[in-house]
Symmetry: C2
Subunit: 338 residues, 2 copies
């Protein structure tokens, strides 16, 4: 009998991942009523519509019950509530179980990534991320997609791969945890910029240019934090960035479209409904980059729009006023050729 896979967080992505895993699955919902509803109806209508969870997915509002004997723990809690969950995990997770963050954000105040938060309370665990172009609504409908499991421990990565891989969900593995995590946090901020461009009425060339220059920002920050440059050319980088910046289903892009069309931030957020991580992460991401001496011009303009210190038109004008030169920074080339 396989040990259960544990998914923490029953929002849209946590619920979909629980539905994709094979074998026994425990799905932790913070609210007891939601756990009870999930077990009674095998549905999570607010977040995943018509998706039906199999009998082998058992919901609980007890973290202890969710984690007991789990072969792997997948944490899909929004960044704003991530640390309290990480603190509570201390002592609940089997020492051989990999712990993966499914959350793409940077913590306010600390400027910490989600794996840094996990590591503070689970120092002995193998900690990584699950990421890629994975719009939850599409996976809930069975459309084909692929993801990356990033984990230093290759046996743990293969275990997660085996439990999640299926006919419409391809799971690749990598050891570059930092790169995958920086990519995920940055793409949500960049998707707001792409949405703003669309909301202002600009076209596909403009959006593709923002995606490309944004990818360079992501790569600069990642390499400064020790990532492999190649990661940004893969599913965690380009793949997730493109999906998030071009999809009508992307919450972050939709916030940007609202801003570009002249809505206030509050109006734009309200029209989306669920948490858009890029709104929360823009400021701490830019602060983290500044701590490291890395320039992120597009993300800085998103942070300014979120803070209300720049309008969309001003933000794009600031970007357009930067001088054109060789496409690549000399420093980046040096880093990559090291």
């Amino acid at each position: 009998m396989d040990r259960p896979v544990c998914v923490l967080g029953a929002g849209s992505w946590g619920t979909v991942v629980a539905s994709l895993a094979s074998g026994e699955v425990r799905l932790w919902a913070r609210r007891r009523e939601l756990a009870d509803e999930l077990n009674a109806s095998h549905r999570n209508p607010r977040y995943t519509g018509e998706l039906v969870l199999a009998e082998h997915v058992v919901a609980t509002s007890s973290l202890e019950e969710a984690c007991a004997g789990a072969a792997a723990v997948l944490v899909a809690v929004p960044s704003a509530g991530f640390r309290p969950v990480a603190i509570a995990l201390d002592g609940l997770v089997a020492t051989d179980a990999p712990v993966l963050s499914l959350t793409k954000g940077i913590e306010r105040g600390s400027h910490a990534t989600m794996t840094q938060v996990l590591r503070a309370y689970l120092p002995a665990a193998s900690i990584g991320v699950l990421t890629g172009p994975n719009l939850a609504k599409e996976l809930a409908q069975g459309m084909p997609a692929a993801c990356v499991v990033a984990l230093g421990d290759e046996a743990g990565a293969r275990l997660v791969q085996d439990r999640l891989h299926g006919p419409s969900f391809r799971v690749y593995t990598t050891t570059d945890v930092v790169g995958c995590e920086v990519a995920g946090a940055t793409k949500n901020v960049l998707a707001i910029a792409a949405g703003v461009s669309d909301g202002l009425g600009f076209g596909d060339n403009t959006r593709a240019t923002i995606i490309t220059r944004g990818l360079a920002e992501m790569g600069r920050l990642g390499v400064a934090m020790g990532a492999e440059a190649l990661t940004f050319g893969g599913l965690a980088g380009v793949g997730d960035l493109v999906a998030t910046c071009t999809s009508d289903r992307s919450r972050n892009r939709r916030v940007g479209i609202g801003l570009g069309r002249g809505a206030t931030l509050a109006e734009a957020i309200a029209s989306v409904g669920e948490v858009a991580e890029g709104v929360v992460s823009a400021e701490p991401l830019v602060a983290l980059a500044r701590d490291l001496g890395v320039e992120l011009p597009i993300c800085e303009q998103v942070a300014a729009m979120v803070a209300g210190t720049a309008t969309p038109t001003e933000a794009l004008a600031t970007l357009a006023a930067r001088p054109a030169r060789g496409e690549w920074d000399v420093e980046l080339l040096r880093d990559l050729r090291r």
Copy 2:
């Protein structure tokens, strides 16, 4: 008085580039009637709608007149008619004028790139490419975009940059001609695959995954031909690929959508109207890669669909049946770290 810039080919892209250049511009149209119409109306309604060409753009159907004294020659002729124009250029181009291909394809039969064709007849010239996410219709409407001028000769690159750079068109420079050219030829083929996925009703995750794995194909082929891997992360690579694979204005994507919805190739092409280079280039691109021992699984399936030997459903099933493994090939990593 600046020397004129010469643009060869008065299709949509040639006409738009002529409209973006500063100073005197000569625009060569193969048909005399089109040249006359351009000079009389300053419009090219079939290809560029309402776009008005400035007085400093003068059309001609004489190649000799178009090239006489030109500071730079930009060749925007479809790949199927490229070689005859290259042959005719011999003796017409000033020895100090850079010659840039604006055409993104591979020649049938020879499997040659457009710069290889140019080099055969202009051995002393500085030869490069102009590329990037540049959907002609959007540039014709003044929407912001960026491009890359790839030329071994940096002074020539700066000359072209100066003549094309403007408030809504940012021109970057690079010396990686091979990388830019491979990227441009490959993205047109990949855009057909992205369109097929959309036409079959798959979502943004699937399309982003095709774009990402397609980018890896492009990079493998480019590195095998001597390109810089970094080029594929820039405007010529990711940028152009994303624009072409996500835009409703992309001819190649629209051919793919037609195929995905069950149209025959002839029907899909007819509904688009203008040449879709990916249809012409799929077979020679795959043959070129095979000559070099490089595997291009997605492009191979596009070539099979174009040849009529695979249906869209069969092509996607073949791709989905490939085993999942580490995201990056060991050989690519070795090439990149060389």
